[in-house]
Symmetry: C2
DNA sequence: TATTGTTATACTCTATAACTATA
DNA sequence: TATAGTTATAGAGTATAACAATA
């Protein structure tokens, strides 16, 4: 196996493990990977319509309805009337939602530090640069109309 | 944001993109990520019982029943009587299943070459080494009983 | 006429529990 | 008594299509 394929496989393996680790940390509770992703985007965007969330998450509006239903039931977000468009709702984080994200962000920082501990700054810089190139190329490959 | 968190985020981003790319390449056909994973394990293990597949995939035996049902319907695998245990079945790849995996492996090799093209051997070696360390640490974190 | 969100329907992946046939 | 696989049931994530309210 050539080095590039080996790196590719390691990348996938690391990704799967991180996903599993994330999913496991939610297990049993009302939060799941998809719902947490919505919380994350919601904090990034600020109070948003479900259409905006659907676009940000890359899923269908119908799917967002279900995710918001669950997150509203667990008091992580709440729906409010849109001030100027009576068709739309504005989804916002509750205090509990904000607390949840803050905690997750701290855990992410701690995990990153644990995983990268002992790796030299030079090596991290190399990994960062290569991963950036890979993601850029992937995005180009996946949107052929924009890449040609 | 510190460098380690940045690398962590890039790792997740690359992983998500690769997953999306994989899922998209199956879109519309009978193959999905989970079914393809089963094919992959089946080739690695050789003809296997569903129990063995469940263990290899880390899912419930009931889940394997559904995956094998679908893969049998699309002629990627077939069930046969176990020679010595009449409770069990032996799942094997059909010719079509073998062809499918061979094609996917070639595509993986091509994608890896495309993504890593132009990256120096030294840099790839660094990335490989760091990713290996990260996956090892993740595994230790996720199995505390084995790690202490 | 277009957009927002919902109801209706369906498929996939996943799980646990109960059951049948066999070991 | 234990194991292999299935049926039964359930929940989560995802999708499209049809629909009501509003723009």
């Amino acid at each position: 196996m050539t080095r590039d394929v080996q790196v590719f496989d390691r990348l996938i393996e690391a990704a799967v493990l991180i996903q599993d680790d994330l999913a496991r940390s939610f297990a049993g509770g009302p939060l799941t990977v998809a719902r947490t992703h919505l919380l994350w985007e919601l904090r990034r965007l600020g109070p948003s319509t479900q259409q905006a969330l659907a676009a940000a998450l890359g899923v269908s509006p119908r799917n967002v309805t279900g995710l918001v239903d669950a997150l509203e039931a667990s008091d992580h977000v709440h729906r409010a009337a849109h001030p100027s468009d009576r068709r739309a709702v504005l989804v916002s984080l509750t205090r509990r939602g904000v607390r949840t994200i803050t905690t997750m962000e701290r855990e992410r920082t701690e995990l990153a530090a644990q995983l990268a501990g002992g790796v030299s700054e030079e090596d991290l810089e190399v990994v960062d640069r290569v991963l950036e190139m890979i993601t850029t190329r992937l995005r180009t490959l996946m949107t052929p109309e924009a890449g040609s």
